[in-house]
């Protein structure tokens, strides 16, 4: 029983981070209709950014979230307004799949060139401390990571639901033509949505850096995780990402604990396939309706 509880807690802590890492992917997919295969790069770039700030300047990774997310916001905006926009306007929406895949490969190799193929971790002072609750042991980094992830997800949900910027993003996702007739600059909003997604990914990267080891090659796994989270939870909303992320975290933790660590990927894909068969829109559905 204790083992089950311990595994559940570990799974939920991991799941919160999965959710944050996926929410940008979900938003971009929901609003722009783009399956962004560069998403994992944003996550890993965030982790490397936090690593540099920590080793060179001693900045805590949780504080590093702010500059890292800001930089990726700008990078994401420029990337969408140039490369991705060009590809879509000259070919079709599907072209974005190929282009983002290509950019991801180049970026992965560039990261490997810059940082080497080694696995890194970020180890602030609280890295090895843990809380004990009876027989339960919880790593501080996981609690901190979960708390930071939840905070950022809630912040995003509030922005989407309570501000003009958020309403504009949701309106653009549903009816781009009507949105422009209401005075919204749709191209600019697409850029800003993409930028927000990249910033959220980079923020999650900084948190991932303190919880798990990472390398340039892990970007593939993070794109894949984001994809699975969206299929499980539903497209376009922080709530959907949270549900999907927590589910994926639990599936991973239970499989690793009770079936075998080698089978986590198999379990993930099994659930993915089942979900696509039973409820292809995810548990919470598409936040923007059936407009695509």
């Amino acid at each position: 029983m204790m083992l089950f509880l311990q595994t559940t807690i570990n799974g939920l802590a991991l799941g919160g981070i999965y959710a944050l890492a996926a929410v940008g992917f979900s938003l971009v997919f929901g609003v722009l209709g783009i399956v962004n295969l560069t998403h994992g790069i944003f996550v890993i770039a965030g982790a490397y950014g936090a690593l540099i700030l920590f080793t060179q300047f001693g900045i805590d990774p949780l504080i590093a979230i702010v500059p890292v997310a800001a930089v990726m916001f700008v990078v994401g905006y420029l990337y969408q307004r140039t490369i991705i926009h060009w590809a879509i306007s000259r070919a079709s929406l599907v072209a974005s799949l190929v282009v983002t895949f290509g950019v991801a490969m180049m970026a992965r190799n560039a990261l490997q060139l810059a940082f080497g193929p080694d696995i890194h971790t970020i180890t602030p002072s609280y890295s090895f401390s843990s809380l004990t609750l009876g027989d339960l042991r919880i790593d501080v980094v996981r609690v901190v990571g979960l708390a930071a992830s939840l905070f950022l997800l809630i912040a995003l949900a509030v922005i989407l639901n309570k501000t003009h910027f958020g309403r504009a993003i949701r309106a653009t996702a549903q009816q781009p033509l009507a949105a422009s007739l209401c005075g919204l600059n749709v191209r600019n909003l697409h850029g800003l949505t993409f930028a927000s997604g990249a910033a959220m990914a980079a923020a999650s990267g900084a948190i991932i850096g303190i919880v798990q080891p990472f390398a340039a090659a892990s970007e593939v796994a993070w794109t894949l995780n984001a994809f699975i989270v969206v299929v499980l939870g539903g497209i376009g909303s922080p709530a959907g990402a949270l549900v999907g992320g927590l589910l994926l975290g639990l599936i991973n933790a239970y499989t690793a604990q009770f079936i075998g660590p080698a089978l986590t990927q198999a379990a993930m894909f099994l659930v993915l396939v089942l979900m696509l068969l039973v409820r292809p829109n995810g548990l919470l559905g598409n936040a923007f309706g059936e407009t695509r």
Binding site: H164, R167, A168, R170, A171, Q174, Q175, L177, A178, A179, S180, L181, C182, G183, L184, N185, V186, A287, F288, G289
Partner: protein, 243 residues
């Protein structure tokens, strides 16, 4: 009625558009005087919607000019045209289904020219459409067709337009709602709004329009006083099903 001098509030001349090589509009030319109602009629595929989309900046014309109050706005993007005081209520309403009625309205009311008066404008729209006030917390997707049309018009009004273009506002509505929508358009006009009305409901629109244009195969083929066109034998035959 409307003079053909350069004094009209909206002047459109020689607009052209093609969808990947297939010509949709060849020569759309019309004028809307300050405070007037002008109708643009024509059958399916005549190019009415394409024409007004070009006027509102949602499509870039291949040729021609759009002048709003003396200012050349040809080719400006839609979101800038709205801010100059020209609002298009698009065909099919296109309300934001997953936003509440209230959110739909205040989103449009956020354009620069109207931002300071959002509350005032909201009151005005609710006075015009009390039904929208009752349902302001509901998702727009849950409204009936007539209510969605009211919302679409209300959304246009929130931007405080000088020119309001309505693309097929009566489409798919019951006869009672059609009369309601048209009497509401008349009321707006009496308050001073200049209206360009695109319609297949030729009878209603011609009886209220000061001036009207007939668009056929992307070209304005006839124009004249609304009531005169209503009795024109060609118009009768083509659009009213009467001989």
């Amino acid at each position: 009625m409307p003079s053909t001098s350069g004094s009209a509030l909206l002047q459109v001349s020689g607009l052209k558009y093609d969808y990947s090589g297939v010509s949709a509009v060849n020569d759309c030319t019309l004028e809307l005087p300050q405070g007037g109602i002008v109708a643009l009629i024509g059958g399916n595929g005549a190019g009415k919607s394409t024409s007004v989309k070009m006027i509102a900046g949602a499509l870039k014309p291949r040729a021609g000019k759009v002048i709003l109050d003396g200012r050349d706005i040809t080719g400006l993007p839609a979101h800038e045209v709205v801010d100059l005081g020209l609002a298009l209520v698009p065909e099919g309403r296109l309300v934001f289904q997953h936003l509440s009625v209230h959110e739909n309205l205040i989103l449009a009311g956020h354009v620069r020219r109207a931002r300071a008066k959002v509350d005032e404008n909201l009151e005005r729209v609710f006075a015009l459409f009390p039904r929208l006030q009752e349902r302001q917390a509901q998702n727009a997707g849950s409204l009936s067709g007539g209510e969605q049309q009211m919302l679409a018009i209300g959304r246009g009004l929130m931007t405080m337009p000088r020119v309001l273009i309505l693309d097929e506002p009566s489409l798919g509505l019951s006869p009672i709602l059609v009369s309601q929508i048209f009497s509401m358009i008349g009321k707006l006009n009496e308050e001073g709004m200049s209206v360009l009305l695109v319609e297949q409901n030729v009878h209603h629109s011609l009886s209220m329009a000061g001036h009207a244009y007939v668009l056929e195969k992307g070209r304005v083929v006839q124009s004249g006083e609304g009531k005169a066109l209503l009795h024109d034998p060609q118009v009768k035959e083509a659009y009213l099903g009467l001989v």
